[in-house]
Amino acid sequence: SAVISQKPSRDICQRGTSLTIQCQVDSQVTMMFWYRQQPGQSLTLIATANQGSEATYESGFVIDKFPISRPNLTFSTLTVSNMSPEDSSIYLCSVGGLGYEQYFGPGTRLTVT
């Protein structure tokens, strides 16, 4: 299984600002995923990020609000733009395994005030 790290682990941000979350994997992977886990809710897929192509966003998520970069096979970033308190959540990145399972990072806990 891959080892995934995320930065920052947590942050408190003001309304209207943006935060970029980094995800680093210890091996090269084709597919990386970004999820959101709102308080008391399950994980919701935001987008799939493949190296060399534009991210694919799920219904309800748009690139202007959640721009994603995937510059190489071990790294990705997710930006939460123009934040509001409704964006307070845990943001997780994951990578696909050989058997279609996914491995998750520790998450970034974001609080927007």
């Binding site: 299984s1 597919m31 995923f33 809710q41 399950s42 994980l43 919701t44 897929l45 799939t48 799920e58 997780l92 696909g96 058997g99 279609y100 399972e101 996914q102 491995y103 998750f104 990072g105 520790p106 998450g107």
Partner: protein, 111 residues
Amino acid sequence: AQSVSQHNHHVILSEAASLELGCNYSYGGTVNLFWYVQYPGQHLQLLLKYFSGDPLVKGIKGFEAEFIKSKFSFNLRKPSVQWSDTAEYFCAVRVDDKIIFGKGTRLHILP
């Protein structure tokens, strides 16, 4: 739309009790099924997975799950729980390249 339903949001058991957490999914095609666990303060970990073959799959820490295609179910079981099993458990189904998660079940084991 595809979905995953977990029957219990919060389960409290005493140590040595048997556990069964229900999971149903709505998708008529070929699925891959997973159970993930999140221990307090830790990140999501894969507990077990089903792809094909024997519908009874065994995972880590004595957990097992049974895939019943006719019932669209993938229930998680453990014959005797331990205090260290206190965690949140997520059932998930892979459809195309996406994994859809249930809302999770918080399991609390009393010592």
